[in-house]
Amino acid sequence: MATLAMTTLDPQSRAARRGWSDLTIRNAFIIPTIVFLIVFNIFPLLYSLGYSFTDFRASTNAPANFVGLANYRALLNDPFIWSNFAITAKYVIVSVTGQVVVGFGVAMLLNRTIPFKGLITTLLLLPMMLSMAVVGLFWKLLYDPSFGIINYALGLGRFEWLSDPDMALYAVAITDIWMWSPFVMLLSLAGLSAVPKHLYEAAAIDRAGTFYTFFRITLPLVAPILMIAIIFRTMEAFKTFDLAFILTSQPSAELISIRLYKMAFQEWQTGMSSALAYIMLIMVVGITNIYVKYLNKVKER
C-alpha cells in the first residue's frame, strides 16, 4: 500500500531513463539510514542492555559475569542515586519553566510591528548558537564572587553563586534559561504568527479583555507548538551534563548524567552504568510519552 501512496516517478526524469524504479530510489535513500541506525544506535542499545545484567568492567580483561537484576537493585537502593534523581527533577522543572516563561514572554513582545524586529530576533538567538562548554566557562567567570560582573551589577557583594550548596543548582538553571529561552521564543514566535488575525478582530468586536483573549485565543492556538518546545527542552534538561559539570562541583548540583559519567568513565563500572543509563532511558521515554499524549489531545481540540 505504501508504495502505491508514493508519488510516481516522472517518466521523463533521468532516474527513470536509467531504469530506476520508485522502489529502487526509495531503498537507496532508506537502507543506508536504517543500516546506520542499527549499527550506531540499535545495536549498542541492545548490547548495553545485556551488559546491564552483568558485572562487566571495560577497564579489565576479566570476563563479564551474569548478575541478574543486582545492578538495578543496587542502584535503586543507593540513596546517592536517588538524591541525584531528585536534583535532576528539580533542575528540569526550574529550568524548563523558566525557559517557557522567558521565551514565551519575549515572543509575545516581539510579535508586533517594531523597528529592527529581524535584527533583534537574530541577536536574541545568539546564546543558543554558542557551545555549552563555552557558555559554562564564561558564566563561571560571570558568577565569580571576587570579580564576577553579576555580583557587581546586582550589588550582592561576595555572594557565592556556585559554591553555595543551596544556590548552585539554581545558578546552573539560570545559565540554562539564558541559553535556551531563545529556542522556546523562536518556536513560540512561529506559533504566534500563525494565529489568524481575524480571531483577534472578532474578539475586539466582542469587547473581550486582554486576559480573555490571551487564554482563549492565543494560548490554545500556540499550545501545540509550545508543547513541542517543552518536550525538546525537557529531554535536553534531563540529559544536561556539560553546563553543570563545568560550573560547579557541589553535590547539591550533581545531576544524574554527571553521576553516570563518573560511574562509567572514572570508576569503569560498565555493567552498573549501563543499568543506570537504562533507568534514565526508561524515565525519559516515560516522561516524553506523557507529553506526547497530551500534545495529541491538544491538537485534537
Partner: protein, 437 residues
C-alpha cells in the same frame, strides 16, 4: 684488494645503518598536558639525537587523561608505546594486563635502590609489598606549600602576630601554626584571605588535600595489604585531621569550593591568599616572573607536621610504564634503559623534570637549583599515597561524597563522614572479594 673489500664492507655497513634509520623507529609516550610533559619532550629529543629513534610525547588535558588512557587500554590499542600514568592506576592497569611486567628489568638495574624508596613503593610496585614492579618512577611529585614572603616578613604583621599568638610569624612547622597564620591573614574586608586548599571533588583534588592532613596527623587510609579500613580511616587522628581541614576551609577566599592546582596557584599570583597548597610540579610557574607578578616574594615550605610530630605529604607524580599492546616493546625497553641512566636523570632534573633518582635528589646541585627543590627533596622521602587497587576510582568518589559536604558546607560531623566512608569502602572491598584472599 683487501682495502677494496674493507671499503665495500664499510659501505655495506653504512648503508645498512642508514637503511635502519630510514625505517626509523618511533616511540610514543602518553602523558597529561602540563609543563613536565614539555620538559620530557626536550629530554627525549636528545635520545633521538643519540640513537635516531624518534620519541613523541603526546598529551591530553588532565581532566581527560584517565578516561582517554583507559579507553585506549580497554580497546587494546597500540597508539601509545608507553604511558606516564598516575600511581593509582597501577592496580587497575596491571591486573587487567595493560602494563608490561617490569620486575625483571627493575631487579636487573637495581632500581629499588637507584630511585628514592617512596617513589618505588608507590609509583612502581603492585600489590603493595609483592616485589612486582610495573613502572619506572619518572616524575616525582608531592604536595607542598607556597607562601607570601612579603606578607610574612612585614615587620608590622610580625609584631601583630606575635602579640596575638605569642610566637614568631614564620612558615608553619605544624598544622596548628598553619591554622593560626591562616586565621591571622584572613581579612575579607581587605580582599586578603588566609589559605588556599584543594576542594575540587570531581577527581582526586579534595582527597589529596585531606590526605595531607590525615597523614601528618598520624592517620592512614586503611591497611593496603589486608584492606582493613574500619577503625583506620575513621580513627580519632583522622577525625581531627578532617576537622582541621574544615577549619582551614573557613579561611579560604570566597567561592573556594571547586579548586585544584590552577586556582591554588592563582591564589598566590592574584594576591588572594597568604599560603597555598599545591603540587611541586606547579611551582616552576610561581618562580617565573612572567606567570607570577609576586615571583620574587613567593617562598615555599614542606607540608607541616601534625600534633604528634608525624610529617607526611600526599603523593602526586607518575611512573612510566610500557603498554602491553605496543608493537615496539623492545624499543621501549631500550628507551627505559637510557632513561634510568644517572646522566639522563640529571639532565631530566636540569630541564625541570622532578627526577626520582635518589642520587640526583641528594646532590647539593639539585637542592640549590630552585627555591623549592630542597622542600621537594625533604618531602619525597616522606610521602604516602591513596589506594592503588583497581577499584580506586570508586573509593575516590566515595571519599568525595562523604567528605565534601562536611568540608565545604559543614554538613554533619567529621566523625559521621568518616564512619560512613569506612562502611562504603568496606562494602566496596566486599563487592570485589578483597577479604577472601
Amino acid at each position: 684488494m683487501r682495502i677494496r673489500v674493507a671499503g665495500l664492507v664499510a659501505g655495506l655497513a653504512a648503508s645498512l645503518a642508514y637503511s635502519t634509520s630510514a625505517f626509523a623507529q618511533e616511540l610514543t609516550i602518553f602523558w597529561a598536558e602540563w609543563d613536565p610533559a614539555n620538559y620530557l619532550q626536550e629530554l627525549v629529543n636528545e635520545y633521538e639525537a643519540e640513537t635516531g629513534v624518534k620519541v613523541t610525547v603526546e598529551t591530553t588535558p588532565w581532566q581527560d587523561f584517565q578516561t582517554k588512557a583507559f579507553t585506549e587500554f580497554n580497546a587494546q590499542g597500540s597508539a601509545y608505546d608507553m604511558v606516564v600514568g598516575d600511581s593509582q592506576w597501577l592496580g587497575a592497569a596491571s591486573e587487567a594486563g595493560h602494563y608490561v611486567d617490569l620486575t625483571e628489568f627493575f631487579n636487573k638495574h637495581n632500581l629499588g635502590e637507584v630511585m628514592a624508596p617512596a617513589t618505588v613503593k608507590y609509583y612502581a610496585e603492585y600489590p603493595s609489598g609483592s616485589g612486582k614492579f610495573w613502572a619506572i618512577p619518572a616524575e616525582g611529585d608531592a604536595v607542598g606549600w607556597s607562601y607570601r614572603k612579603d606578607w610574612f616578613e612585614d615587620p608590622k604583621e610580625m609584631e601583630a602576630f606575635k602579640a596575638k599568638y605569642g610566637y614568631d610569624l614564620a612558615p608553619p612547622k605544624t598544622w596548628a601554626e598553619m591554622r593560626d597564620i591562616a586565621e591571622f591573614f584572613h581579612r575579607p574586608d581587605q580582599n586578603r584571605y588566609g589559605i588556599a586548599i584543594y576542594t575540587d571533588n570531581s577527581y582526586d583534588g579534595l582527597v589529596m588535600g585531606v590526605e595531607n592532613a590525615i597523614f601528618s596527623y598520624g592517620g592512614e587510609l586503611g591497611d593496603y595489604a589486608t584492606y582493613e579500613v574500619d577503625g583506620i580511616i575513621n580513627s580519632e587522628e583522622n577525625v581531627k585531621a578532617l576537622e582541621m581541614y574544615r577549619e582551614l576551609y573557613g579561611f579560604t577566599p570566597p567561592g573556594w569550593a571547586k579548586t585544584f592546582f590552577v586556582e591554588n596557584n592563582q591564589a598566590i599570583t592574584e594576591n588572594l591568599a597568604a599560603m597555598s597548597m599545591n603540587y611541586f610540579a606547579f611551582f616552576p610557574a610561581l618562580v617565573n616572573e612572567a606567570s607570577n607578578p609576586n615571583a620574587k616574594s613567593t617562598g615555599f615550605f614542606a607540608n607541616p607536621a601534625g600534633p604528634g610530630g608525624a610529617q607526611f605529604a600526599a603523593l602526586g607524580g607518575q611512573g612510566i610504564s610500557v603498554i602491553s599492546y605496543s608493537e615496539n616493546q623492545e624499543e621501549a625497553m631500550k628507551f627505559l634503559e637510557w632513561f634510568i641512566k644517572d646522566e639522563t636523570q640529571k639532565r631530566w632534573a636540569e630541564l625541570g623534570g622532578y627526577t626520582a633518582s635518589a642520587k640526583v635528589l641528594e646532590s647539593p646541585e639539585f637542592q640549590n637549583a630552585t627555591p623549592y627543590n630542597k622542600a621537594f627533596y625533604e618531602t619525597m622521602f616522606k610521602v604516602k599515597d591513596f589506594w592503588a587497587t583497581p577499584e580506586y576510582a570508586e573509593l575516590l568518589i566515595q571519599m568525595n561524597q562523604r567528605s565534601y559536604p562536611y568540608v565545604t558546607a559543614g554538613e554533619g560531623s567529621a566523625k559521621e563522614a568518616l564512619d560512613a566512608l569506612a562502611a562504603d569502602w568496606k562494602a566496596t572491598f566486599e563487592k570485589y572479594d578483597r577479604y577472601k584472599q
